[in-house]
Amino acid sequence: MNISTRQQDDTLILSIEEERLDAHNSPELREFVLKLLGEGQIRFILDLSGVSFVDSSGLGVLLSGYKNVNLQSGRFCLTGLHPRVQAMFELTRLDQVFEIHASLNEALTHT
């Protein structure tokens, strides 16, 4: 899975550079976030603007990241949701769970 990272103050921006976040590649994202958490990184913004498809496994991995980060009193927010991907969050009501921002700037300025 291609993930690019950029540190902005205490926040790590993870850009998922894959069209699909599914049962095939999402386990890698889970491990990636867990590894960073283990290294003490607890504030994340996930930029999903490159992702046009998410399945239930992808949603589950995002939820895993959210829950694990919350256990450390960190921040795990999402931005750049494609409208089709946003619809998946609404269908599963996960839009009410995640902190979701319309743009990366908004995510960065909202604390």
Binding site: F53, D55, S56, L91, R93
Partner: protein, 142 residues
Amino acid sequence: MGEKTLINLEIVVPNETRYLGLIGNIGEEVARFLDTYAGDRESLGYHLNLALTEAMVNAIHYGTRGEAGDTVRVTLRIEDNQLCLKVYDQGQGFDLSAVPLPNLENLHENGRGIFLIRSIMDNVTYQKTDQGNVLEMYKKLA
């Protein structure tokens, strides 16, 4: 192929998750060709991609015998303004009626696949046949 059959596809792939994108994208491409479909083709494309992806994951996880060379067979048929997806597996199978609805208030990481398929398709069945177990998913196109 009958007169009213518009598309009839069959594809067999190894039961490995690396083929999910290939199978899912076929559904998405088919939706792009349905220029008589009155609804939102973009949304239909996502739904077919999702239904095929979730069904194939299901077949890999629950329908495998654990033998090398296990495959998943997928068919896509459009007939009489109805689209039918079938995903066959060769394993023990599962009881579709026993799959619980996810409690959307809790935050379990798994258990949304069948829920999603049921949400986006009009009719879903799972049964044993001579050719293995088959998850059938129907969607009206008119």
